[in-house]
Assembly symmetry: C2
């Protein structure tokens, strides 16, 4: 993969390798900042694939693609997801088939919107997986095609699927909950079905990086699936001193998405203290926003060091500083 | 399915049911004319699926779609294939992945051009097949969605695949030969791999229609795959008196595509006489163009009645008359 270190001299931790445990949008923004302060060739993101789904015969990996498109600078700035200058011709043409689809069929599903350019990524991934390539291999090819400097590795090469139990519709897939139901229904549990095996690359990256960062992603449905794999929590707890988490909860609310609501519904406190309780066993430090500065003592009481720095990544500068401070939190002085 | 008989009074054979053994473009044009003179609800097309292929994870049925789009009036009039006002965004975006595709991989294949609107058909078909629907069922849903009045049935619900042995590249799929190699390389044989089982609907339509028409399609790679299925030739030869073929060869050349060249390369005479030799066992009459009127006796010598009428379907009127004359050729007086 191409390194961008020639043009962007790292300002901190020049020799540290960093693994970032990642969901989608929040992790992508965090990584954007981090890659401005550290050689991208030193960074590996271990990415949630619990949201992965099959639609129209295509293998779709939302978090991998969100990070890829974001770091490639290709994301639509208005929508915040999907590709810039995207068109939706194929999806629109699918409408014709809604009337003939039998009851219970998921064919012609249009609530999961796939743009025409975006489709090429799914075509490539699906074709390569059909040919027998692993998701790890395909992801490396896709990120190379998009010119990324860091390494993205899926948490697993197997199927490990997030299932959300809703109060109104019973068990649904994560995308059903997140996109179709717009994460607006009460939930009673989250579980992970399938094979609980970390990919070899993910295991290596979690074990051997000098620093591990848990990105500001949803602790339950973005970081949770990765933690549900055999070995993840053991690896991280054994190296807890060099693991730092960034809270996705600021002032009791989520930076993005349903994290706060989900935490409350599943019996966790929707605060940086609730986050600290979830992560204290696997990380030694928690980065929180000044909005939560009054909770530092409570975080410390959970057994974590607490670093206060702006974490609402509304500008590139804030994201970059957040990256610097986060790495410094677990770096040798 | 919707019948259009209210608005288009049939002018011939009002009570006859007709099955048309069909390839792609030639059959589609023939059917367009036929449906102007016979109640579409009486017409079934048994369609070649030997060209069907998998690309990007999608199940693609070129001949079924060519007929569907043509009869729906949705085909691009300039290109002669694909949809009107089509765009090609997804295919263009696939180019990014060509550089990272490993040697030998078929991912990011772009020589088989899939338009953005066209993709919706493949999405629907693939999703329904994945759900366990048969190709027959899916095809009925797709043709209903496109408002077709006739019934299209795939020749088989199994995989039956046309393999072309070329002089230069050995065995290739039909699409490889036809699209990628632009049917411009010499071939030494054609064979059909897979399961040789007629679909139930195809068998019923071939057996029970009052009239069977062999459309002006390529005898070797459009009609050939249908004839390669167990029972087809037995059914047709047993009812030979009510089977009529329309020659796809006019003046020694093909109406469209590589039929003439293929016939010559595979040891057949590229003429209506060569066509008669291929069909004499299963059809009692052959419709030929006035350009070949001097060959009537030679066709008759092969054991077929010979009807001369314009068969180059350059206008809707010619296609309609061709339909009338063809049906009349095997209708009771």
């Amino acid at each position: 993969m191409k390194s961008t270190s020639d043009t962007m001299p790292p300002t901190v931790a020049a020799t540290s390798s960093v693994t970032v445990v990642s969901g989608g949008v929040g992790a992508a923004r965090f990584l954007t900042g981090l890659l401005n302060v550290i050689d991208p060739a030193k960074v590996t993101a271990v990415v949630n694939t619990g949201d992965d789904t099959q639609l129209h015969g295509l293998s779709i990996s939302p978090d991998l693609d969100t990070i890829t498109y974001t770091l490639a600078g290709a994301t639509d700035p208005e929508r915040g997801w999907g590709l810039r200058n995207e068109t939706w011709t194929a999806m629109a043409a699918l409408q014709r088939f809604e009337a003939v689809r039998p009851n219970g069929s998921a064919a012609a599903t249009r609530w999961f919107n796939l743009g025409d350019q975006d489709l090429a990524t799914h075509f490539y991934r699906t074709a390569r997986l059909t040919e027998g390539a692993s998701l790890t291999e395909v992801t490396e090819e896709i990120t190379t095609a998009w010119g990324l400097g860091l390494r993205l590795v899926p948490m697993t090469d197997e199927r490990r699927t997030t299932v959300v139990t809703t109060a109104t519709e019973g068990d649904v897939s994560f995308q059903d909950y997140f996109v179709r139901l717009r994460h607006s229904v009460p939930i009673t549990s989250v579980r992970f079905d399938g094979v609980a095996q970390l990919s070899q690359s993910a295991r290596f990256a979690l074990t051997n990086a000098e620093i591990v960062v848990i990105a500001p992603s949803n602790p339950l449905v973005s970081i949770g699936p990765i933690r549900s794999l055999d070995g993840t929590d053991d690896i991280l707890s054994a190296r807890r001193d060099s693991v730092v988490a960034v809270s996705p909860i600021v002032g009791g609310a989520a930076l993005k998405g349903p994290a706060a609501r989900m935490m409350t519904e599943l019996g966790h406190e929707s605060s940086v203290v609730g986050v600290a309780r979830l992560y204290a066993g696997i990380a030694s430090a928690l980065v929180i926003d000044p909005a939560d500065a009054h909770l530092v003592d409570a975080v410390v009481a959970e057994g974590m060091r607490c670093i206060v720095t702006p974490s609402v990544m509304s500008t590139p500068e804030i994201a970059q500083t957040l990256g610097e401070v986060t790495i410094a939190a677990v770096s040798a002085p």
